[in-house]
Amino acid sequence: MTLVLPTAAPRRKANFTAYELTVFGVVAALFLLALIGPMIAPADIYTSNMLETLFPPSAEHWLGTDDQGRDIFWRLVAGSRLSLFATVLVVILYSIIGMIVATLATVGPRWVDELLMRITDIGLSLPGLVVSLGIATVLGPSLQSGIIALALTGWPMTARILRTTMRRTMEQPFVEGARILGVSRTRLMLKHVLPNSLDVLIVKWAGDISFTMLILAGLSFIGVGAQPPSPEWGAMISGARGYMSIAWWAVAAPGAAIVINAVAFALLADILQVRRDPSLQA
């Protein structure tokens, strides 16, 4: 009876501001550095040079040297692959776990959904760092243990968010249509529901990388993650802590590297989030 008819929404083009492009550029550069870092770093960063220990930053050693006389700048460059890729690996691993849980909860019978979401709730309310610490202690201190521990504790948020989006996608007309046409559940899930739910995750990933990098470094710092003399940044800070009062740069530099990465990914997450929800825009 009324004349409320849909109007076509004007298409939005993706125009990026200079600020956004800068953040994208920095993130890309960080990935590139992680990729080529270990290849361009000189070999002597793994060996001691007792003649050049604890040099402050200079033209020759941009960020100074550590207690073994190793160049800190090049150790950071070499370690960027370990730090960033380990972080990304953790996020990939727990995203896979989260996807499996969410998919099972969506396609499975009601009790499976109920059970999995209860477990997810339990996982959500546990302190991730503390449980990871416990797991890593049991597994024995190493970077692998840290990665496994964080993968095992990180998935619940992903599972919960994905399940909610999947449920919503399942109710969309096009999925309904496909189901009526006789497309199998599994195929429907893999071809339609999962891809349509992913854009939610992409925003989350950027924030997750930032957050996970901090926790992973924290585990190394306590001593259950990567062990010195590994150039993983958390381990570098842990190793340099003892002589910080005479060579503060050995602690400051790897920390700054973590901050640069974590901030870059956090800003990326912020940008992506605002793009999804323009009401947050400043």
């Binding site: 009876m1 009324t2 004349l3 409320v4 008819l5 849909p6 109007t7 076509a8 929404a9 004007p10 939005r12 083009k13 125009n15």
Partner: protein
């Protein structure tokens, strides 16, 4: 009903008729919004007036710009750019400072919104929300509460005294809409803008709310601008009707004349879409197609792609405003060169 109009005895063209003293005068109001890519014109060169105590309806489909216009009159939406002139009781609203404009709101002009479910603060009591209009003006707590109570009584909210301290979730939709009305009326404004005030309510509650509005507007000689997509609720209420399409007012006339002799093909389409008790129809005719998006309006007359009477010139030449012998202000090539 032919396109040509008949000048009947006793019907005086609008421009000759005695107009009530203008309370609100809108001249050449345009509303633009800047998106990431471009400037989009939501409302284009709209002019109209509302007299003291007069009841005017602004009718159109969703997306026609009627709500944007309503909000612009009170400068509620800070994200749009307004140009033109809006005079209220001799004051140019668009040139007021923000705080001067805030002083007009609630006191001189009140507004009621579509969805009473989301129009109230869930965490504040009904009494406080109604009294807030007065508290902003520095009215004492006691007096504001008393006046809030009076307005709720006037709006026939049962046991209003006991319910001042209730929260919105304890009220039904119709009751909430009365609370929203009370918030707008407690400051005793001269103009009430009601944006789809009954759309979210069921039919019986709709009628009751409209009757209340009718009663109060007469008693207080309150001018009302009723914004709606539903011509059905306009008939018994409005003195004058303006029809909006795609950001422009395409027809304006006295309510009785507009209903009896709709001029613009769009108005006729709208009227045919309204179920009427006095006419038996097999099915409701509605207008084919959808109104254009504000950023993608057709050239010429923006209605031409949906118009049964479209002529060659309609797609290229924008129709100007014509006053027909019946007193309608129309934008359509069927009525002279404009």
């Amino acid at each position: 009903m032919g396109v040509d109009t008949i000048l009947t005895d006793g019907i005086v063209p609008a421009q000759l008729r005695q107009r009530p003293e203008a309370l609100l005068q809108v001249d050449q109001l345009s509303i633009d919004i800047a998106t990431r890519d471009a400037n989009v014109r939501l409302v284009d060169n709209v002019s109209f007036g509302i007299g003291r105590g007069e009841r005017v309806a602004l009718v159109g489909e969703s997306g026609s710009g009627k709500s944007v216009t309503a909000q612009a009159l009170m400068r509620l939406n800070s994200r749009v750019k307004l140009s033109g002139r809006v005079q209220f009781d001799g004051k140019d609203l668009l040139s007021l400072s923000n705080s001067q404009m805030a002083a007009m709101r609630g006191q001189r002009m009140g507004m009621v919104f579509q969805d009473p479910m989301s129009s109230l603060d869930p965490l504040m009591t009904i009494g406080d929300q109604v009294a807030e209009t007065l508290r902003i003006r520095g009215v004492s707590k006691r007096e504001a509460r008393q006046r809030a109570l009076d307005v709720l009584d006037e709006l026939k909210v049962e046991r209003a005294a006991e319910r001042l301290d209730s929260f919105p979730h304890e009220f039904s939709g119709g009751m909430r809409q009365r609370v929203v009305l009370a918030m707008a009326l407690v400051g005793e404004p001269d103009l009430l803008i009601a944006d789809e005030p009954t759309t979210a309510l069921d039919v019986r509650v709709q009628e009751r709310v409209l009757d209340l509005l009718d009663e109060i507007s007469r008693r207080r000689s309150l001018a009302v601008l009723l914004i709606t997509h539903d011509l059905g609720i306009v008939a018994g209420f409005a003195d004058r009707v303006m029809v909006m399409y795609s950001g422009r007012i395409v027809e304006e006339n006295e309510a009785t004349l507009l209903f009896a002799e709709p001029q613009h093909p769009y108005t006729r389409g709208l009227l045919e879409a309204v179920p009427r008790a006095d006419i038996t129809v097999d099915r409701l005719r509605s207008i084919a197609g959808a109104p254009p998006a504000p950023g993608a309006r057709p050239s010429g007359c923006t209605f031409h792609p949906r118009c049964d009477h479209a002529m060659a010139m309609c797609s290229s030449v924008e129709p100007g405003e014509t006053i027909t012998p019946l007193g309608a202000r129309v934008r359509c090539h069927l009525y002279g060169a404009g």
